[in-house]
Each structure stands twice: as C-alpha cells, then as structure tokens.
Amino acid sequence: MVRVSGYQLFATTVLFQLGTTVIFGFASPAGRDAWIAMLLSAFIGMFMILGYIALMNMMPGLSLVEWFPKQFGPWLGIPIAWFYPLLFIYDAGRGISDLKELVPLTLLPGTPTWVILGSMMLVIMYFLSSGVEVIFRFAGLLFPIIFFLFVAEILLLLGSRNVHFDNLQPLLGEGWGRVWKTVWPFGILQTFGETIEFAMLWSFLRKPGQLAGINIIAVLVTGVTIAVFDMLAIMVLGEGVFQRNIYPLLVLLRQLSISDFLDNLDALGVMYFMTTIFLKISLHLMTAVLAIQKLTSAKSLRLPILIVTVTTLWIGSNMARNVTDHIFVGTRILPYNLWIPLFIVIPAILLMVAWIRKKAGTAL
C-alpha cells in the first residue's frame, strides 16, 4: 500500500506549483506590482484548494475521479470524471511544448528537438513505471537542493550592484486594475487551480488530518518564493524589461557575474526549470494514469502509462508553431475554456450537491 509522509506531499506540492514559473516569471502584465498580484493569487488560491480538501473530507478515501460518480451517479458522473485525465494530458503536453521552445534556445542549441523530447519522455515513462511513491521521494530529495539554489541566487543578486529598490516604486501606481486582471483568472488557476490534480494523490497521505495544514504552508511557500523572484526581477531589470521578456527570470540569472569568474549562471536556471518541469509533467501524467486506471478498472498501470506518454509526446511536439502563440493560448484562452469550468464551476457544483446530500443524508 502506497503511503507518503507530510514532508513528501509538501515538497511535491511546492515544486509542482512552482513549475514553469521559475523561468517564465509570474504576473508580468501587472508590471512592478507583479509581486502583489502573486501574493493575492496565493491568498485566493489557498481558499480554492481548501474547497477541494472539503470535498475530499466529505468523501474520505475517494479520489478526484470517484467523487463525480459518487455524487452525480454513473451516467453523468463518469463522463465528467473523464474530463480530468484528458485535461491532465493536455497540460502535460503544454509542459513538453515549453521544453521544446526553451531547451534548444539555452542548453542544447544544435540538438534536434525530437531527441530532447523523446529522451525526456523515455525517462518520464520509466519514472512513472516506478510508482507514485518514487515520485514523492524524488520531490522530497530535490526540494532542499532547489531551495538552496534559490537562496544562493537571491543572495548573489542582492550582493551585486544591479539591485535598484526604486524600481518597485510607486506601489500600486496604476491602481488595482492591472493587478486584478493578472490575478483573475490566470494567476489563481495556473499555479493553484492545477493543484486539483493532487486530489488523485491525497488519499495516499499517511496522516490525513495533516492535509489542510500541509497545503496552506505549501501555498504560502510557493506564493512568497515567486513574489520574491518577481521583486528581484523588477528591481534588477526594471518594469519595462520584466514586462516585455518571455523569460524574465532567465534574463535575471544572466545578470549574475561573480568577479568575472562565474558567468552564464542562466544554465543553472534552466537546470532547475528542467527539474521542476520534469516533476510537473510526471505528476500530470501520473494523475492521468491513476484516473484512467480507476475509470477503466485496469489491473496494471503499464498500458495506461504507455498510452499517456506517447499521446503527450505527440500533442506536445506539434502543439505550437511559435512561443508567442503558445503563451497567448495559455494566458488568454485556456483559463476561460477549460480551467474555469474544470477547476471552479464543476467542483463548486459538486461541493454544493455533496453538502446538500450530506445534510439530507441521501448520498448515492
């Protein structure tokens, strides 16, 4: 029986929520107020995750895809439950597409993208075959290393002469308008809404009573980490460069130079981006595999793993013609088309139905 510790769940949740944000930055449309947008997103996102946990507590021992048939019955509940593995596969494909754009640009300029993506997917396939427990252990092991690198980066930047605190002024100079536009819907849904995937994994927690506390601390750590990086990027690069650049946090790392001896530390950023994206794609696919296993009553995970990894590689490698289109879809269309219905509307209806049924004592 798979059992994970509170620390492992915490580390996995934080690294999952950080995901690609460690390179793309967060809330750049909010300009110098991006860090406020981040903290506000984290605050609202925390309540959304507590909503998912409330659902979990109403149906103890059941995972995300089992909630819907339980409350809505099999004819309506099962088709709704299938939306989620499909979304997780699509989201994993977006991660592959991010890699396709970034790695040839930074680490491996001469290597064909199919080699990069193919080898990544082979490793992920092996990783998934090792089981859920290995993913949690991997995150628990990497968490201190990644955070050590974060702290080193922050200290080195603060020690450089490039930090200009004036760039953060005036605070909310253009009002709350652009902050709110960034928070809703993208800010809340991209980083925190996706945590609904963990509802496939929460039942593995050794002490279920710790679930809410772990998630609150994880959201706080993620929110503060990204807010600090946003502040540093604004202080070092200025509002204009921060807003215009696709990879502001990568550009931030390029500013680091230690006595003309240690340069090109952006490679370090790509390395931790690779680590968090690897973990994020693996979690998207593991939750999709577990969901498919539950929905099809499959005895083995092998076939679902093969199907989801091959599908993800295929859709990820032909998803975007260019990075601009890819980011436009992710920030302007996807949140409205898929994320709001699947992360907010359907869980909210489910919460109401489950609550009414619980009160009336008529669970299916």
Binding site: I78, I80, L295, T296, S297, D325, H326, V329, L338
Partner: protein, 40 residues
C-alpha cells in the same frame, strides 16, 4: 474544417477556441462507454 481534428494546436485554439471543449466532451463520452461496459 480539418483543423477541428487538431484543436490542441495553438493556432487552432486561437481561431476556434471552443473546438477543444467539444473534443473533450466527445472523447469523454466515448471513453465513458469503456467505464460503463467494464462496470456491468
């Protein structure tokens, strides 16, 4: 019309934003048949 078959591609997503939602509904109904059949 053939681009409706590839709704996850960014340019199709931009031109026909609802194509992917429709694909999700169709696929989930088709895949549900496996679940219903296996449960019986």
């Amino acid at each position: 019309m053939s681009e409706y078959l590839w709704p996850w591609q960014s340019h199709v997503f931009i031109l026909h934003p609802w194509a992917i939602s429709i694909m999700f509904i169709v696929l989930s109904l088709l895949l549900s048949m496996i679940s219903w059949f296996k449960k019986k």
